[in-house]
């Protein structure tokens, strides 16, 4: 019996199927919000309010011809997008969606470090996939991915440790459950910095330099077609959901929230999804209201502003944890 339950949790809820559906839904919502901010209607034909549009796009790409460039490094070209996708879905499994993570054993002390490492691995796989396509635009796009994530990984890690300091634990479940007062209230500066570095890590405006199509055409996706492109897109969408989910766990109290009746797991999942959607709205809003910066501007902003602020944030947090929070909590 236990085995069936475990398989259900891995494959359906809150595992693979749930993550996939949530990703497609977030993709739809992003597009709809972007459209409304830009005074457009957005997807409207596939399904009610166009809600099936991301799925339709995904299926359409799967049916397209799959072309492999002659000079591509075939193995990496083929498998990097798939592996990147799997890594992201696997990383999602560590996040306690309905109060506990997918595998109860996986929620060990220190899983925060593991999933932040997964983000890095996924980005590195995306870099590999662009590099393997042997296309100058793909190469430039990949190089930009690498440059940018080298710059923003450190601030992300540093700021990501802030909640861990406050909670006194490196386990995501522990951090989430320790938030009787959400850390967005206790450490708003860290929240802002985390959103900014997440935005850069996820390559969204104003940091979407690797996707600057007026400069590098399709970036690392230039040579990809068909199913592989579909998985590259999906990986990106899962990354966005994952980033939002991480923000929810670290700063918004995870899946905690009032339970009214029935299954607590249902309410926990509901709160989690609602918070996640709120974060997606915020990131999409940021995407819409800024222009894309230049690579040198992004890098200098990173080294001159973001990195020092991240260090300061950490120092401030330690000070607060030592002297201020004991009085409040």
């Amino acid at each position: 019996m236990i085995d069936f339950w475990l398989i259900f949790r891995i494959l359906v809820f809150p595992g693979f199927t749930f993550v996939l559906l949530l990703t497609l839904f977030c993709d739809w919502m992003e597009r709809k919000i972007e459209a409304r901010i830009q005074n457009r209607v957005g997807p409207m034909v596939a399904g009610p309010f166009g809600i099936l549009q991301p799925l339709a796009d995904f299926i359409k790409l799967l049916t397209k011809e799959d072309i492999q460039p002659r000079d591509a490094k075939k193995f990496i070209f083929k498998f990097a997008p798939l592996v990147a996708f799997s890594v992201m879905v696997f990383a999602m499994c560590f996040l306690p969606v309905d109060g506990a993570s997918v595998l109860s054993v996986s929620g060990f002390n220190g899983d925060l470090i593991v999933i932040l490492a997964f983000v890095t691995i996924a980005n590195f796989l995306l870099f590999l996939s662009g590099w393997a396509s042997s296309n100058p635009y793909g190469a430039i796009g990949s190089a930009r991915v690498l440059t940018q994530f080298l710059g923003y990984d450190i601030p992300l890690f540093l700021v990501g440790l802030t909640p861990a300091f406050i909670a006194g634990s490196l386990s995501i479940a522990a951090i989430a459950s320790a938030q009787t007062i959400p850390y967005i209230v206790l450490a708003p500066w860290a929240f802002v910095l985390f959103i900014i570095s997440m935005q850069a890590e996820l390559e969204k405006d104003p940091f979407d330099i690797p996707h600057a199509e007026s400069e590098v055409v399709g970036g690392l996706e230039t040579e990809y077609t068909g199913g592989k492109l579909a998985f590259l897109h999906l990986t990106r969408d899962v990354q966005i959901v994952f980033g939002a989910a991480l923000v929810v766990e670290l700063f918004l109290g995870g899946s905690s929230g009032p339970v009214f009746f029935g299954l607590p797991a249902f309410w926990y999942s509901l709160w989690f999804v609602l918070k996640l959607l709120a974060v997606v709205v915020i990131t999409e809003y940021i995407t819409c209201v800024f222009a894309r910066l230049r690579l040198d501007q992004v890098l200098s902003a990173n080294w001159k502003i973001l990195l020092p602020s991240a260090v300061l944030s950490l120092i401030l947090t330690v000070a607060m944890v030592t002297w201020v929070y004991p009085l409040v909590v």
């Binding site: 459209a35 409304r36 005074n39 457009r40 209607v41 957005g42 409207m44 809003y285 209201v289 902003a301």
Partner: protein, 128 residues
């Protein structure tokens, strides 16, 4: 980065637009209303035609060919070459060529874009 105290205007505008109605025209579900003298597909009235051939001579795109129907020369419009400038209507001494607001001319069958002069030219049926 320069320090500006004013808030970038886009921040506010973006929020306010979420709550306003989109401006998108929902074509093809909702068709736009066109001005009455829109230059769409030509309507040719064979009863007014005097077979002078001026329309064919003046057509900048050479889209009008004079063909013999019942022993008389009549214009045949090739809409795939037509640039819808309506010089033909202007050149016609008898006003036999008029404009219509019919504009959905996309088709997979090129031959359906040739308007054969008939007693009364119907609007081209939309392709099935």
């Amino acid at each position: 980065m320069s320090k500006k105290t004013r808030i970038p205007p886009m921040l506010k505008r973006a929020v306010s637009h979420i709550f306003t109605k989109p401006v998108t025209t929902k074509y093809p579900f909702v068709k736009p209303t066109l001005p009455a003298d829109f230059r769409g597909q030509q309507v040719f009235d064979i009863n007014l035609c005097v077979s002078c051939g001026l329309c064919s001579r003046d057509c900048p795109a050479k889209a009008i060919e004079m063909v013999v129907i019942d022993g008389k020369r009549r214009p045949q419009f090739k809409l795939d070459s037509c640039i819808f400038c309506y010089q033909c209507a202007e050149s016609c001494p008898r006003n036999a060529i008029k404009s219509s607001v019919f504009y959905e001319l996309a088709t997979t069958d090129k031959s359906s874009l040739v308007l054969k002069p008939q007693a009364s030219v119907e609007r081209r049926a939309s392709p099935q």
